[in-house]
Symmetry: C2
Subunit: 267 residues, 2 copies
Amino acid sequence: MTRVQDIYPDDRVSLREVGLRDGLQLVKTFPSTAAKQRWMRQEYGAGVRHFEVGSFLPATTFPQFADVRHIVRTLAELPGAHGIALALNERGVNEAAAISMALGCSITGPVAPNEVIKLVEKCLEAGVDFVAIADTVGYAGPKQVAELTRAAAKISGAKPVCVHLHDTRGMGIANASAALDAGARILDGSLGGLGGCPFAPGATGNVVFEDLVFLCESQGFDTGIDIEKLVEVRSILRLEMPGEPLYGGLARAGLPGGAGERAVRSG
Amino acid sequence: MTRVQDIYPDDRVSLREVGLRDGLQLVKTFPSTAAKQRWMRQEYGAGVRHFEVGSFLPATTFPQFADVRHIVRTLAELPGAHGIALALNERGVNEAAAISMALGCSITGPVAPNEVIKLVEKCLEAGVDFVAIADTVGYAGPKQVAELTRAAAKISGAKPVCVHLHDTRGMGIANASAALDAGARILDGSLGGLGGCPFAPGATGNVVFEDLVFLCESQGFDTGIDIEKLVEVRSILRLEMPGEPLYGGLARAGLPGGAGERAVRSG
């Protein structure tokens, strides 16, 4: 029997690439199946082991996920890789998925932390492998994220806490840092920060995956991911979705290192 | 006699707009004097009280600061506003300015925290009003920023610690959050994240000022700044420097609030 610790080892931070699902939720153009497969394989080569691969929502409404079965099969060919696919009907979205809007709701506004923690308790009682808290609309600041993560980690025991953040208001990496400090050991991001949220039109996407790796490594956590190889995968997205903006500091500036940069002038 | 506490009150975080100097250090086109004055006045109207206004470097090399005396006079007309202008010769840049490259150097690589703290001690002995630590090239992660800020705050006593961060690798806001937690009470940013660093070509600029305000307020610190009014000032930059990319999550998504956003569909 596979235990949750086999999938998400205790001694590292597990970073999940959600670009293939969450990242494609709202896009107008989307990668071909072959490009998705290259995207996944190339990230696997960079050390990524966790992928959200698509959803089983109706292909008439979400044609970008029509190939989800192919993508799941490709994933299965990669030793040690783990996948998640959303399987829900629209009514069930709030009940079946991670605890979304846990840190603020675009419809009702602030969300009481106690209500979220009650929901976490119910999920744990129901036997979930781990609890995921999501700031779907990017309302939270680091303090709020830290408090909720700490409370969830306290009642989760040996089960890991996952925190899913969006960079809607520029707080993504700061919130991820706060989540890490508070005990989260599974974090989600998407390459180039791809993706948005249907509840927050105009808002940008998930936390930039490359920057998330840099954050974790700089905090002393092993991610097993080669940042430079990861950054190279962006070329697939540029080619397949030329209209989609890609974000990220790492891709822009490269890893710190004396060699690549020169003093131009003082000032 | 003006005390440092009169300029940077103990009971709030003082945020400094460095866009008019650091933000313009590398740009090819720059705002007219009148536009700079509007920029400053309009931010003053939003509650900003601290401005880096320019530098006294030779106008032949840095024409963007040729009007620094005008800008200083404009600042002087705004009650309660405080300004900084760089006054240094090129040889003096490393000695006279804030402790730049305190968290990593694009020429020598990592910087030993002990060396920085020794320099902080020397500055304090020399009678400076406060110490500023700068991650000029955006090398640091939150852990490193927290450690250095905490060490500086410990020996600074009643004098505030200023942390000047760049968002080069997407860590800007996370580092600012860590600095706040570690006791920094003066933070620098620039509207739209304008600016770069001459030692790190291709790198993006200062921490986005609007996002910095949102961070501080979400952490429970009073900044005295109206974010929405602040965001409006971006239109001046767009008009005057159409080629310069402006960054920032707040400007893109707006403040959290049920009213401005609607559920479109689930997923």
